[in-house]
Subunit: 394 residues, 2 copies
């Protein structure tokens, strides 16, 4: 044996997804990258905002002593204070720098929060469909996912969530705006969820936490706003990154924040800081911490993503695809016209259109289309989308 | 309960170390930072080399499209190829880009390697004294540390290592140049270790891996070189970072490399790439990957650290401290004149000298002095070191 049993099994399980990506790469080589329509990855196609480039130049031109050195594991005090002030601006609680831990992206932040709270075997409720990396993140800390159904339009189903709660339930993990559906949970949904978790936390004599993964908070359309998790429930964490709103996914910069009114706040904060260290992150990257502190109000031009959404939704609707029009993020999650989403995605691939089967997100019978691509890619892929649906809907 | 049981216990265990740091901070506020001699942290006091600043400016001034975007989880191909060529330059095996995974520092790299190879309950042999974070890193993946004694001058004790090997042994983890002792393992020691592990791998029918943590490889003195782990043993990994040689500890950039001749190389590499992703790192920070690819032959001026070592060693020897003179890294690990190293370190603190008890590294009866500080800090602390040893050696 070389790799551990668990890792060997994970490599084998993920091999069909890898095969798909490899098939995509073969097609790009064969037909030219411009003739392959790659909707498979959530890699933003917009460059970072001009102000980011300016801030980065200033930091590079005029470095402070120790700019690249160690700082407290939680991150630079100035950055955490800036994030706390930003959070205080749109949530009811008033945050302090201590409530914020700068992390290696949202992936790092989720692992920090999950390791802080999870005892082995404890359960985390996740509404489906969901970002499938959560399974790995839970398993890293011996947590157990309890995947529950959602209601119409991928709304939270309180009955399904309540049905999954038991004495082993440690947290509910949500993602809003959602990957892969683009669903934004409403204030009413969050209030109902907060009330439900308050009741059961009281019943069991310890908090059931609400963890919200929010890297798409600023990627929203039609003038809506994303309601506050912190206002809806005290025993809550928000994890986010600057990967999508500043188009910096490769830089691995984000943060985890606990509610300022969370129970036993001192222990929770000490736990998060300790976990950031001992998971091997040690801290978030120093230079990017300096940069984002000056860019909290910035974002890429979201209207460009809205235009892409509309191009894609109008085009797919015209040829008969069924979907819930997303209000945020840059994913569309249509029904596949046949039950077998893997087969349908394979048929799209024959048209050089790369998408991901919904099965990969706990949502079989669907596919995920990541539309963070050029407008041309969308427009030029539409005839292929139409040919394939016609083949199956005779 | 708020934080998990394990994390609560870790917070409590680490509270005396935190207390020491807090006491140090109180002293800095009370007496002025310039009057407190802080030898407690391995935070390099040298700024990054001039060429790093130039490279960073060029990257900031003239960004490539997608410079801050996602790349394959293993890292940019160009960076991995550059590292592979660098490794091929001083090791017998010829490396390819695939053998290299760019990581969030050495802390990230160690967790990637350990998660790749460890099944729950498997053991990792660690010669003491050792970097105490290894305990956490093993526990993250349900591995079990088997700490073994070292011989004279902190040399590898083959008898002790052989005595600890059993069917559950999955790896030996070494750190050379060593934190906290500065010991550099010799070619002879590594060859003997390689031979021992070859024998037992054959006996048990599966490899016992050698994992070498080498962030101090370039911080060496007296014209020595650090022998190659890859030459000594095929079933080996090297994990390192640019934290110390480029003075970038806050930027979290390093790499893990497997021996090009490792058994079952394809699975090992796939496992490392998968673990980099699922542990929440996703990838190493993009901008720093671009930078270090151009800086593999660079380092801070190591002669400055050698001067600090000599200042400290000469000064402490003159007043009666006993130690093995280190050949690398920037730590000295003297015997404390009394058995109770915690008490001795507390007495030094009374003189505003901050060090760390050897007990924190599995080496009671010693203390660690991190001499990556200004020359003045060393010179001005020597009278205090002398007063304290005189108090105990009457």
């Amino acid at each position: 044996m070389s790799a551990s049993k668990k890792i060997q099994a994970a490599i084998e399980r993920s091999s069909w997804i890898r095969k798909m990506f490899e098939e995509g790469n073969i097609r790009k080589k064969k037909y030219g990258a411009e003739n392959v329509f790659d909707f498979s990855l959530g890699n933003p196609n917009l460059e970072p905002p001009a102000k980011f480039k300016q801030v980065l130049k200033e930091l590079a031109d005029d470095p402070e002593p120790g700019q690249h050195g160690y700082m407290p594991n939680a991150g630079f005090e100035t950055t955490r204070k800036a994030v706390a002030d930003y959070l205080s601006g749109y949530n009811r609680p008033i945050f302090s720098a201590d409530d914020v831990v700068m992390t290696v992206g949202a992936g790092g932040g989720l692992n920090v929060v999950l390791k802080t709270i999870l005892n082995p075997g404890e359960e985390v409720i996740i509404p489906k469909p969901y970002f499938v990396e959560y399974n790995f993140y839970l398993d890293n800390h011996q947590g157990v996912p309890k995947v529950v159904a959602t209601g119409p339009g991928f709304s939270l189903d309180m009955g399904a969530i309540e049905g999954a709660i038991n004495e082993k339930t440690r947290a509910v993990l949500i993602d809003s705006p959602n990957n892969p559906t683009g669903k934004v949970y409403t204030e009413g949904e969050l209030e109902a969820l907060g009330k439900l978790l308050t009741d059961y936390s009281r019943k069991f004599g310890q908090p059931i936490y609400l963890v919200s993964d929010e890297p798409y908070r600023k990627i929203i359309y039609d003038g809506i706003t994303v309601p506050s998790i912190f206002d809806a429930y005290n025993e809550s964490f928000v994890v986010t990154s600057f990967s999508k709103d500043l188009s910096l996914p490769g830089e691995r910069i984000g943060y985890a924040a606990c509610n300022h009114d969370i129970s036993d706040r001192g222990t929770i904060i000490a736990g998060m800081v300790l976990c950031n260290r001992i998971l091997g992150f040690v801290s978030a990257p120093a230079l990017m911490q300096r940069a984002v502190a000056l860019l909290l109000e910035e974002a890429v031009d979201v209207s460009l993503y809205q235009k892409k959404r509309d191009l894609l939704c109008d085009g797919l609707q015209a040829c008969g695809y069924e979907f819930v029009k997303p209000r945020g993020a840059f994913y569309l999650f249509p029904r596949t016209p046949i039950e077998d989403d893997v087969a349908f995605v394979a048929a799209l691939q024959e048209e050089n259109i790369l998408t991901v089967p919904g099965s990969g997100f706990g949502g079989p019978g669907h596919m995920r289309i990541a539309y963070c691509v050029s407008d041309d890619t969308i427009v030029n892929a539409l005839p292929g989308f139409e040919r394939v649906i016609k083949k199956f809907k005779k």
